[in-house]
Symmetry: C2
Subunit: 579 residues, 2 copies
């Protein structure tokens, strides 16, 4: 071992030790030359899992999925050049959805930068404002100081990934040739777990909580609105609070709160399309948790009641208020807030407000059921309606953006099945969804990905990980050959250029793609077939794609008919109440 | 038409008019909602070509290919969110390879930014230091001032794309709902072509040129080294200069200078692997044009003679000197420089130096030919060796990075066939190559893409454009099932983890992918088959993929054997000369 190799090995091994000490277990590597020493050392580390993913864009989202599901920082590693630029979409999503992702990029050393050297791009602050922290490493040295420095940057990078607000971090490594580290003797020492980051949570003093509780206790028609949330004990805490206040919880499908409890309202997206509900269900208070819910009618409803007391709780001190409705911003861990507040609020003995919501919620479900029983042909809404009762207990569903998440909002009703619902709702992109779901599938089984054809197309390369790592995932591919969501938007009215710009049919037969990745493929022809396919999916190992061909125009008509039916039922009911 | 719609339409139509006036003809659009008004107006414009490409990463590279081939700025348009982040790899490449690419991103208006609104990411300076210019537009208004402003930003954006140094530009449009523009009456006026940008070129006064000519005229053993160049009259001008100086031109395959002229030396990559050549062919002067040549032996050769006068000419005032060898940086248009300098330099009557290079160049070719005649099995070098003489006249080859560009360097010899050679040599990425080639194929026919399996895999989504726009391209897919170039690097010596980290076999049968995109696919089994496939490719329309399965270990052995044979021949010759 020469001095260069020794410095390279010890400095980078120290960095990896720092990562391991602070909890990093999963590393996703995209092959390349400049990153050779880091890649070899990562693979050599006996307690770190490595995944190789050739397309860096897919790799970025695969790492995102691992991090979302494991709730731990995941490392991404690539070589210099555009490889690193391909991580950008996943970095942007990780930043907005608060997922700890640590990007390590190998770089040319200083003398090869900005001078026309091959595969040299400006990697300093490559991801701009989209990372929580950026560090440019010094060149490898193995003095005691530099070994400590290397280890400390790793530890700090993990810390910055996790708190105060989780998100992506970027560390850039200038490395000189030769790039081979020494793998013998084993480059990692025993003292790997001697470091700990003990993260605090935002908390409020008792007096502040009491003051908030006094105010909330005055309100009679409060609503608790929960957007995407991902804290194991939050659901229970929120339900206890809602029960004591007799306030309904409008629970987004990603809130993990669509549980079989009477305070949970899950059909509000359908309900709030009815004018009379909008007018008559006037809340006097809103308490909101999590990111913004997917439902547009709910947003319109909240905007209609601009000016009422509207509290937004964010345990990571973010600013999630797109319509500028908040009247109090409360910075406290959401679970702790609910638990402690429950002790201080007055029990509300009046159930009338809650019961009104429960009534219309039930009416909406009955109307949806009636509508679905008439729907014989393959149609998107019914895919979701039929799917959920058939899912195995404790399944995870990963939901694509655009139409699938909206259909899940409409058709995924509260239950006791222990279903986890995941999605990329930071930037709501249709990109990277296949890879994120595959990353999540490493930790969450069984996993079903519900996705449209354009989003599936966008990240077909992600399927390589399923083949190489023999991952288990069932994809419910809803194929309306194009951009279904645009049919619901105003541009659909103006027929001119619509199909070419928004419909964008690709005419692809995805069976070819699935076969290329050695997956099992089935195209569903009717509902009985669908039901059988879902049933056998539960026991199938590997990649399994169930495609349901649907028609964009028919989907739109069916959805509209259903919403009209819901509105009719609710309006009739409310007229009855009035009399 | 209401006031909002009128302002939206007139303001954006003015912008598009500004683009059209300054030469924009091609627009690549990725579907989305926020970008609706820009997309509809672009498609509505009767003299602008629009291409819809769903995967924004592929769209970015497709636009890059259009711009490279048309030598005009091409517009990219997408909606808000991660869509824009997917353009990043193409933006990075455009910046380093000096290609005019104008990225327009639709954005949420100010009140929806950084507040948790859907599909809202921070798009200000999204591409950081990787664009030449960034502008954030004002919200649409249709006062005379704002219409002029909108048009002027468009004109300026095009100008910044083109000069002083061509490259990518980013303009961000905050847009409020409703997003539908009025398409009637036709929103564009007749005054579309009333604006012009007359770009200057860097020039030197006569005295400076005379001084340079006097110095150069002193040298006896000068070398002209031409890296990637893309100016139509440069080749001729450089050859005239070289002839007068009796200096060889070492011509990179991307210099467009591998023409059948006696001053052109094209086998230097093989020649300079021979120790005696390195030692004995000592130049006393180097004149360099273009980006860095691909050949590593050439770089080592230049580095060996650090200290000799080494002039670098760059017409766009860049800094392309990765090994810090330059002694004069000359900022002048390369073609004009060669043309004018030829008038001032003294004619060199001594042909000895040139003739030495010609001799070894010829020897290298004879040795390569001898080697190839023995090579019976499918092997990568021979794919290229056999391909070039069979290409139709005036073909374009688009060359993938990693191994293909190196094999083109070795086997694409000077000729009179009018072959254009293109590649993405800014950051040398394996990403986006399929799409860039398809973009180029719109302007360059017939076009052959020479690509390895990993690079093909990386941008398979790019093939959708071939299907949707019925583009004509033949892909020579050299499939060694993994990362072939790593076998030539030091990591191949350390067998540990090599196959998992660097070999990275995917085991994919690409026939499935080609069929999905309705292409013609053929897997070559022997050289006769290859020859026939190339022959019929010349007349085939549409997407045509000719796959050649090769073996990484065998490729390495064959290349090494060939280089040894070249070295032996040259060494023997030089020993003879010595006696």
């Amino acid at each position: 071992m020469n001095l260069h190799q020794q410095a390279l090995t010890e400095y980078l091994a120290a960095f990896i030790t720092g990562l391991f000490q602070t909890g990093v277990r999963d590393v996703v590597i995209s092959p390349g030359s400049r990153s050779t020493p880091l890649a070899l050392l990562m693979v050599e580390h006996q307690e770190i899992n490595t995944y190789i993913d050739i397309d860096e864009r897919s790799a970025g989202f695969f790492a995102l999925g691992l991090a979302k599901a494991s709730k731990s920082p995941v490392v991404l590693l690539c070589t210099s050049g555009t490889a690193a630029a391909n991580y950008f979409p996943a970095v942007v999503e990780a930043n907005l959805s608060r997922v700890p992702l640590l990007v390590l990029t190998a770089d040319r050393p200083h003398e090869l930068r900005d001078v026309g050297a091959p595969q040299a791009i400006n990697q300093l602050h490559l991801y701009g404002h989209h990372v929580k922290w950026f560090a440019e490493m010094a060149l490898p040295e193995n003095s005691a100081e530099q070994i400590t420095y290397s280890k400390m940057v790793a530890r700090r990078a993990v810390k910055e990934c996790k708190s105060p607000v989780p998100g992506p971090v970027h560390v850039n490594f200038p490395l000189r040739e030769p790039l081979l580290p020494a793998l013998e003797p084993y480059p990692f020492s025993e003292e790997q777990a001697d470091y700990e980051i003990i993260a605090g949570e935002l908390a409020l003093p008792q007096a502040a909580l009491e003051r908030i509780a006094r105010e909330i206790s005055q309100y009679q028609k409060g609503l608790i609105i929960c957007g995407p949330m991902d804290q194991p004990s939050f659901s229970n805490a929120a339900i206890r609070l809602a029960e004591k206040l007799a306030f309904p919880i409008l629970a987004d499908p990603l809130s993990q709160l669509r549980l079989d409890n009477s305070v949970i309202i899950d059909s509000y997206d359908a309900i709030l399309k009815t004018d009379r509900v909008l007018a008559e269900f006037q809340p006097d208070f809103i308490l909101r948790f999590g990111a913004m819910p997917v439902s547009k009618p709910l947003s319109l409803f909240m905007k209609k009641y601009r000016g009422i007391p509207h509290f937004i709780v964010d345990g990571q001190a973010g600013w999630r208020d797109p319509y500028h409705l908040g009247t109090k911003v409360i910075q406290m861990d959401e679970t702790a807030f609910c638990q402690q507040l429950t002790n201080y609020v007055k029990k509300n003995e009046n159930n009338e407000w809650l019961s009104q919501w429960q009534q219309v919620d039930q009416l909406a479900k009955t109307a949806i059921k009636a509508h679905m029983s008439q729907e014989q042909e393959l149609e998107e809404g019914k895919v979701f309606y039929e799917l959920f009762p058939r899912l195995p207990k404790d399944s995870t569903i990963f939901v694509g953006n655009s139409m699938p998440i909206r259909d899940v909002d409409t058709f995924f009703h509260k239950n006791n099945q222990g279903i986890t619902v995941m999605a990329n709702r930071g930037a709501n992109g249709i990109d990277g969804v296949v890879s994120t779901a595959l990353g999540a599938s490493v930790y969450q089984q069984p996993l079903f990905l519900l996705i449209g054809d354009l989003s599936f197309f966008h990240d077909m390369n992600g399927l390589l990980a399923a083949k190489l790592y023999e991952l288990n995932m069932t994809i419910i591919l809803v194929n309306n050959d194009g951009g279904g969501i645009f049919s619901y938007l105003p541009q659909a009215e103006s027929k001119q250029h619509f199909e070419v710009l928004f419909g964008t049919p690709t005419g692809l037969d995805f069976q070819h793609a699935v076969e290329m990745y050695h997956g099992q493929y089935e195209k569903v022809t009717d509902w009985e077939h669908f039901s059988k396919a879902i049933k056998s999916a539960a026991s199938y190992k590997g990649l399994n794609v169930i495609e349901i061909p649907t028609d964009r125009a028919k989907n739109l008509t069916s959805h509209r008919k259903m919403w009209e039916q819901v509105s009719r039922e609710i309006t009739t009911y409310l007229q009855g109440v009035e009399k």
